[in-house]
């Protein structure tokens, strides 16, 4: 079991760390969006909206020819109206509208948290044949195996439940930290890994669906999730009142005993007589991400279909909701963040402990040790942080209107991966100093990001705190905390390196 734990940890550690890191950041993806897209830094949305009025403004020309579009209603965390549609040239487009005036907010061309960091978390941005989904799935299953094997391997150490000796030798402290974050946060790690796998369980085990739907596989989303489709008629007809449909939806759900507001509308074949509007119920008051939806006829507003979440699908959606954390509960959100960072500490300390033990073993055996392994460890841990910070800094430095390809979003992503590669190269080139120097670089980048936010948007920390822009203030404060932690870690590692210098001086 111990060997399984070591091998699985070494093979999957880097990927798991990336998943846990981007996952923890994704808890605040909307806040990161506000920070990286200053045009969307609007005050809290008004309680009552008139979609019909707002959509007749500037947005009307955008969606005139789109075969379908999705409208996401504003929330406290996302104070804009979001319009998603498919453009034949650009692909999927997301535009933000001011919920008070319907004005189109300038397209800043950044993928920010919700379209880069969050998808990185579950797909690693590897689209080719869903490879990313499968890698993340394998890593997730590997995490469950690591948790089980870790508990079994350390079962005698369960007595050392609360032990953390930070002032001892680095290896001892690292192992203590690994055991601590592993055992004490075990329920969270287990639930997060299992729920993450549950989200994509149909993708991971397609054989089950194939066995029960041998010929009509397309029926499954319709029966389980209430997916609705009907062909366009070719006859032109104006779209009915969306506000009336929203009111009807709220009434319907109230009658059913599941009171709730809508969070999203999807319009199929707008402007056609066969148009339909799918209205989805919000899940900000419950753990489960329900799939309750109502389908209305787009022209007449008549109710065509109502879908309520079936029981077993409900279990899967509960697990999904457990993982997505889309509900409005700030205490839980911060606790999840702590748990996610605990997971990063768990994996990072494990990798570091293994690297240190390997180094000691090689020193005893007189081997020089593969530089690549050491460099990969540095890149997996600090490199990942540097890449993220480079992403933020690039966002603040790049001009908004870059018309010619590569577009701004691509450049930001290139900054992310480029910085990651540079971290690997630097670690391979200067193995002895890599940790300390990169930690210091990370601290510097974090401070630079805070500075740039203040300079480029004017919402520096004092202003954002006093004007109640909690998202921006929170982001800046977290960046400052990250800088502090990196410097502390650099100092601790420097202290750990010193006894060996002393030993060398003596012997």
């Amino acid at each position: 079991m111990t060997r399984l734990h070591s091998w699985a940890g070494v093979l999957l550690g880097g990927v798991l760390l990336a998943i846990f890191w981007t996952g923890s950041l994704s808890l605040f993806d909307r806040e990161i969006d506000r920070w990286m897209q200053p045009a969307t830094r609007l005050p809290a949305p008004p309680a009552a909206l008139s979609l019909d009025r707002l959509l007749h403004g500037q947005a009307a020309s955008l969606i005139a020819t789109a075969p379908a579009w999705t409208l996401s209603l504003p929330t406290a965390r996302t104070p804009t109206l979001q319009l998603d549609y498919q453009d034949p040239v650009q692909g999927p487009v997301r535009r933000h509208l001011d919920p008070r005036t319907g004005a189109l907010l300038p397209d800043e061309g950044s993928w920010a948290g919700t379209r880069f960091l969050f998808p990185f978390h579950f797909s690693l941005h590897l689209r080719w044949r869903d490879l990313g989904y499968w890698l993340v799935g394998a890593a997730g299953m590997g995490m469950l195996m690591l948790l089980a094997s870790g508990v079994v391997a350390h079962r005698k150490l369960i007595a050392e439940f609360f032990t953390f000796r930070p002032r001892k030798r680095l290896q001892r402290s690292l192992l203590d930290l690994h055991n601590l974050t592993g055992v004490l946060v075990l329920p969270f790690h287990f639930l997060i890994s299992l729920s993450g796998l549950a989200i994509f369980c149909l993708i991971y085990f397609p054989g089950v669906a194939q066995s029960l739907y041998p010929e009509d596989r397309a029926q499954l989303p319709a029966e389980a999730l209430g997916a609705y489709a009907r062909p366009a008629s070719g006859v032109v007809a104006p779209l009915g009142s969306l506000d009336a449909m929203l009111r009807q939806a709220a009434q319907r759900w109230e009658q059913d005993g599941h009171p709730g507001a809508a969070y999203q509308l999807r319009v199929g074949h707008p402007g056609d007589r066969a148009a339909f509007v799918e209205i989805r119920r919000s899940f900000d008051r419950e753990v489960s991400m329900n799939v309750d939806r109502l389908i209305f006829d787009g022209v007449t507003g008549a109710l065509l279909q109502q879908h309520r979440t079936p029981p077993v699908v409900g279990v899967q959606r509960f697990l999904t909701g457990l993982h997505f954390v889309q509900f409005e509960h700030w205490t839980l959100r911060w606790l999840y963040f702590a748990g996610g960072l605990g997971g990063c500490l768990l994996i990072g300390s494990g990798l570091l402990f293994w690297a240190g033990a390997r180094r000691a073993r090689h020193a005893r055996q007189g081997r020089s040790g593969a530089r690549l392994v050491e460099a990969l460890t540095v890149a997996a841990c600090v490199g990942l942080v540097i890449a993220t910070l480079a992403f933020f800094v690039a966002n603040r430095l790049l001009p908004v209107d870059i018309a010619a390809p590569p577009r701004r979003a691509t450049l930001e992503v290139q900054a992310f991966f480029g910085a990651w590669l540079l971290s690997l190269a630097h670690a391979a080139w200067r193995p002895a100093r890599a940790w300390g120097e990169q930690l210091q670089l990370a601290a510097g980048l974090a401070l630079l990001a805070v500075l740039l936010n203040g300079l480029t948007t004017g919402d520096h920390l004092l202003r954002s705190l006093s004007s109640g822009q909690t998202a921006i203030a929170g982001m800046d404060l977290m960046l400052l905390a990250l800088a502090g932690l990196c410097l502390l870690a650099a100092r601790r590692l420097q202290r750990a390196a010193q006894p060996t210098h002393k030993e060398r001086a003596l012997g």
Binding site: F162, T163, P166, L322, T331
Partner: protein, 109 residues
Amino acid sequence: MADLWPALLAFLLAYLAFARLALAQAVHRQAVAPGASAGRGTRVFSATLLGSSLALLLVAEGGGFGALLWLLLLSAAAFCVAQTLSWRPHWLRWLLRTRTEHADANELR
């Protein structure tokens, strides 16, 4: 802010429960107050406190949120106890003192 009270209270209950459990182990007891002896009724004490914190959260936050919050707060509380033992073990000295006082009072009777 008012809706933070259940979570804070539940956290405190869990913290006390785990602190007591930690002090039942000799190595941690010696770090807090060298020479102190173990008390009795640790398991009942801790179990009662943990059960109360769960009940409190289930009532205050409902089934789903309550159970989830409890699990996460347990981890947070246990982690804080471990950090207290590492950095400021003397903060837990009063827990041992109340226990030894009880033990003394029982012996006198």
